[in-house]
């Protein structure tokens, strides 16, 4: 079942003929120069569930989240989306994995529809098996196509909203649907207005981002992500840049989305939100998952010392 069908069918992914796992990440590694930021992170995102990523600053939360939609390319590890693609990053980076690469191209080209960048994958298949330099080029193109395929299944809400400042609220929201997904303009506007109304911003459709409060900007950011009708919503500390009194309006929207059954991965420092909304909490430190579990258990009775110390620091910053 391809994503393009999801888009034409309705709001939420169909439940039939689907496994519970939407996204499986295995052994994700990433270095920036000498800085080994992710040292083999596993993640299992089940449909309709909310995963909270917590951890100290610099522990790699953002890097992990960005790896899930192709903004970051891991050095090693496997990302497996239900319905494809299966992206083996070691195979892309290294040499001598051509057989594996070919298999990936097959899986990818069925499911990358709707993406502009995925077009490179066929070319990649054609050039694979030629001389060394063209093999490397093919690997690079494949990496690009796979990143795009990952991206087309998810949508990201940024810490600093990253709204397009030269576009109105409505234009921000319909940009992806009309420009990329080829949704007719009238349909896209209709859906956008509906979504804006749902987050209480119907009257702001013609405002420019700079005319909104931080909380409103962030809610538009969420609507822009929802308008893409993704399978997976990614949030990177969406409230940490907000004034305290604006945090609630954004978290409320996110909680409603979770209740509606959206699949979400949320990097957050809002432990109370994680406790109430998340199905699973992952505590990341030093590039590894130190502890994972249901929020009730992880917060009230952490198994690891490092988790306990981190929670103490956040809950009792003055002690």
């Amino acid at each position: 079942m391809s994503r393009t069908e999801d888009v034409s069918n309705g709001d939420l992914p169909n439940e039939d003929a689907r496994t519970a796992d939407l996204l499986i990440a295995r052994g994700i590694q990433k270095s920036f120069g000498d800085n080994h930021v992710l040292r083999g992170v596993d993640l299992n995102v089940r449909r309709g569930e909310v995963i909270a990523l917590i951890g100290p600053s610099g522990s790699g939360k953002t890097t992990m989240l960005r790896s899930l939609n192709g903004l970051e390319t891991p050095d090693a590890g496997v990302l497996e989306l239900d319905g494809g693609p299966v992206v083996d990053f070691a195979a892309q980076a290294g040499v001598g994995h051509e057989a594996g690469s070919d298999a990936e191209v097959g899986a990818e080209s069925e499911n990358g529809a709707g993406s502009e960048d995925a077009a490179g994958s066929e070319d990649a298949a054609r050039t694979t098996g030629a001389r060394g330099w063209s093999r490397r080029r093919a690997a690079a193109r494949l990496a690009k196509a796979n990143r795009a395929a990952l991206r087309d299944r998810s949508a990201m809400v940024f810490q600093h909203h990253n709204l397009f400042p030269h576009r109105t609220v409505l234009e921000n929201v319909i940009e992806g649907p009309t420009q990329v997904q080829r949704v007719p303009r009238a349909t896209a506007i209709g859906r956008a207005e509906e979504l804006l109304a749902r987050v209480g911003l119907a009257d702001k459709r013609d405002a420019y981002p700079h005319e909104l409060s931080g909380g409103q900007q962030q809610r538009v950011g969420i609507v822009r992500a929802l308008a893409l009708q993704p399978d997976l919503l990614l949030f990177d500390e969406p409230t940490s840049a907000l004034d305290p009194e604006l945090v609630g309006e954004v978290l409320t929207v996110m909680k409603e989305l979770a209740d509606e059954g959206w699949t979400m991965v949320v990097v957050t420092h809002e432990l109370q939100f994680a406790r109430q909304v998340a199905n699973e909490v992952l505590f990341l430190d030093g590039g590894v998952v130190v502890e994972r579990g249901a929020p009730a258990q992880l917060f009230s009775n952490p198994a690891e010392d490092r988790t306990r110390r981190f929670l103490d620091r956040i809950l009792h910053p003055l002690d």
């Binding site: 192709g70 903004l71 502009e116 991206r151 990253n162 030269h166 990329v180 700079h210 822009r224 992500a225």
Partner: protein, 219 residues
């Protein structure tokens, strides 16, 4: 002071400006901007060879006098079998020149757009080219209006160099009238005042464009 001569020469000079100087500057600037965008993108390319080509081009244009560039194209190129009429020669030289100077402006403007805008474009599914066209360049345009206006105003004045390759723009008209009447100070001063007038009008236009592009920016 010969007021009659001032009055008689004003319209020929102004006409020379409106039919020579201004069209020459406008056409050259339009071609030059397209070239400048290409050169800026070359410079920004992660491919070292492409980036080197862009850098070499900018360096060559900025490192040589415009007058020499004009001479090479008009007097030098025929040696290679490429013969230009005065107007095409002038447009070619000025476009190539603007291409070098404006490339740096455009490059800096593109780099001034926050990285998050590229990432947001990626996230909503756009290719880099589409993100550039729909998200990055409109924002870069705003930043680059003041420096590009400077480039354009310089160009308007530099078109007077075209007189040496026989293009009939305002300054050539001034030279003819001055030689004929022997009133060099008067006529050249008059020409200078008309250039000044043109540039003042252009600066006003720049303000209008900046205002228009400012509507989405917080103050």
């Amino acid at each position: 002071m010969d007021w009659q001569l001032v009055a008689d020469s004003f319209w020929p000079l102004l006409r020379g400006g409106l039919t020579g100087t201004i069209p020459l500057a406008l056409v050259s600037f339009a071609f030059g901007l397209v070239l400048a965008l290409v050169v800026a993108l070359l410079r920004l390319s992660p491919n070292p060879a492409l980036s080197w080509i862009g850098r070499a081009y900018v360096s060559a244009i900025r490192g040589t006098p415009l007058l020499v560039q004009l001479f090479i194209i008009f007097y030098g190129m025929p040696k290679l079998g490429i013969v230009f009429e005065p107007w095409p020669a002038a447009i070619t030289a000025f476009s190539l020149n603007v291409g070098g100077y404006a490339a740096e402006v455009i490059r800096a403007a593109i780099l001034s757009v926050p990285k998050g805008q590229w990432e947001a474009g990626w996230t909503v599914g756009m290719s880099p080219a589409r993100t550039l066209g729909r998200i990055i360049l409109p924002q870069a345009a705003r930043v680059s209006v003041p420096p590009l206006s400077n480039t354009f105003i310089s160009l308007v004045k530099d078109t007077s160099l075209a007189t040496v390759i026989l293009v009939t723009e305002m300054f050539r008209k001034a030279q003819e009238i001055a030689a004929f009447s022997n009133e060099f100070l008067l006529i050249y001063t008059e020409a200078a005042l008309i250039y000044w007038m043109f540039c003042t009008v252009l600066a006003t236009g720049q303000n209008a464009i900046e205002k228009r592009l400012d509507r989405y920016v917080a103050h």
